[in-house]
């Protein structure tokens, strides 16, 4: 997971960026990734040209990720949130919404890195929900850390662009290697990007729907995309 014995630079003031991948798709995991380094390394980071991960081709992203991993002045962590966990939390009796799940994931990453002994002083994140409320929430939990919550943070701060690469590549790999839990016949893994608008994803959903079970657990049942497929077969008691 990108951690070896704590590098020397981690005991100096460090900065971290957090970004997510896979928030919008109707299937697969949502991944939160972070990238951290010594504050003094910031300038070098800016030259590494991460740009906006969404505009990059998959092969390019893979290449950048491998470069990041190889760079001994950088550390990274991920939180892969299983689609079953997303569905389960969003469909609880006392529902936990996607924003809250996102916040908790980011908080988890900060805590993990701090617990490793890294001297985090600044963290940059993309907005989820109300920016100021989010910033306050984070600052309350980690009083010694300065949080910067901004829209399009991945295009403003290189640490966040880097985190975006980490998250995106991790999600892509998780989806490619996804083993379906279900053992029914005629299931395949050509689910496309997983976005509701993707024709390949729509075709996959159509092919894999079941009147009793709905879909394989790869699918996020809490997504509005799924509702038209459920034909009133199951009622709560």
């Amino acid at each position: 997971m990108g951690s070896a014995p704590l590098p020397k630079w981690a005991s100096k003031p460090c900065i971290m960026g957090i970004d997510e991948a896979g928030r919008g798709p109707v299937l697969g995991p949502m991944v939160y990734g972070c990238l951290y380094c010594a504050r003094s390394y910031q300038k070098t980071l800016a030259t590494l040209n991460f740009a906006d991960s969404k505009t990059l081709k998959e092969e390019k992203r893979e290449e950048l990720f491998e470069n990041l991993k190889a760079d001994s002045s950088l550390g990274w962590e991920v939180d892969v949130i299983d689609p079953r966990e997303l569905s389960a939390k969003m469909l609880k009796r006392e529902k936990i919404n996607l924003n809250e799940i996102s916040h908790n994931s980011a908080i988890g990453l900060v805590r993990r890195v701090l617990n490793m002994g890294v001297l985090l002083t600044e963290v940059y994140v993309d907005t989820v929900g109300d920016a100021e409320k989010y910033r306050i929430k984070l600052s309350e939990r980690f009083p010694g850390v300065k949080f910067v919550v901004a829209k399009k943070a991945d295009s403003l701060y290189p640490v966040v662009s880097g985190a975006s690469i980490v998250a995106k590549v991790t999600r892509d790999r998780a989806l490619h290697g996804w083993m379906l839990d279900e053992t029914a016949e005629n299931m395949h893994r050509n689910f496309g990007s997983g976005y509701p608008g993707d024709p390949e994803t729509k075709a996959w959903l159509d092919h894999h729907k079941h009147p009793v079970f709905g879909f394989p657990t790869l699918v996020r049942f809490s997504w509005g995309t799924c509702t038209p497929y459920f034909k009133d077969v199951v009622y709560p008691t």
Partner: protein
């Protein structure tokens, strides 16, 4: 070996007014001992209603896993259904009881047995499988001995005890009634005799 048992059954949407219902038999015998289907450990009671009646590839989609949590000596299991995370526990059926999966082999009216009332529909249920335990599932509530199913199973032993007591009480009551009635008859006879004597004496006079 269980025999055929006859009984009267009301179908769920029959009204009391119409006196509707179905008479039929339940045949609990195993069709063929070598092919008896044992569904022990494979019956699941979900916390929802499913409007589907028929075959279903349950084991292909429903994948329970044991957790480390133990309640009343049994492991709590975890499974997902339609996105919801369920927690379940396996409970044995009460002592002296067994579960059956019955198939309704609907036959045309009559079959030699005319029912005296109602619609005359004759049902014949046969046992297709048996089970000795079931796993019930809760949504968002950890299984415990307070769950309705567990408590309803406890009722069986309570009901047995109550009916035993009732049976004994009834017997005692009958005995008491018998004695009491006998006494009354005796008193009546004595009174009648006395009355006759009085009448006779008064006539004499």
């Amino acid at each position: 070996m269980e025999e055929e048992k006859s009984f009267r059954v009301s179908t769920p949407d029959s009204t009391i007014q119409g006196g509707g219902g179905v008479t039929g038999t339940i045949d609990l015998r195993r069709r063929d001992p070598s092919s008896a289907v044992d569904l022990t450990d494979r019956v699941h009671l979900l916390p929802c209603s499913i409007k589907h009646d028929g075959p279903c590839p349950v084991s292909h989609y429903f994948k329970p896993k044991k957790t480390d949590v133990v309640v009343d000596g049994s492991s709590v299991e975890e499974a997902y259904f339609r996105g919801r995370k369920l927690q379940g526990i396996t409970v044995p059926l009460p002592e002296g009881y067994r579960g059956y999966v019955l198939e309704n082999k609907k036959s045309r009216k009559g079959k030699g047995l005319e029912t005296s009332e109602g619609e005359g529909e004759f049902g014949r249920w046969v046992s297709r499988a048996e089970f000795r335990n079931l796993t019930y599932w809760n949504h968002d509530i950890v299984p415990s001995s307070d769950d309705p199913l567990v408590r309803s199973f406890h009722w069986f032993s309570v009901a047995d005890a109550v009916s035993d007591t009732a049976r004994t009480s009834l017997r005692l009551f009958r005995v008491w009634l018998g004695i009491t009635l006998d006494c009354w008859f005796l008193i009546l006879i004595i009174l009648t005799r006395m009355f006759k004597k009085v009448m006779f004496l008064s006539l004499r006079v």
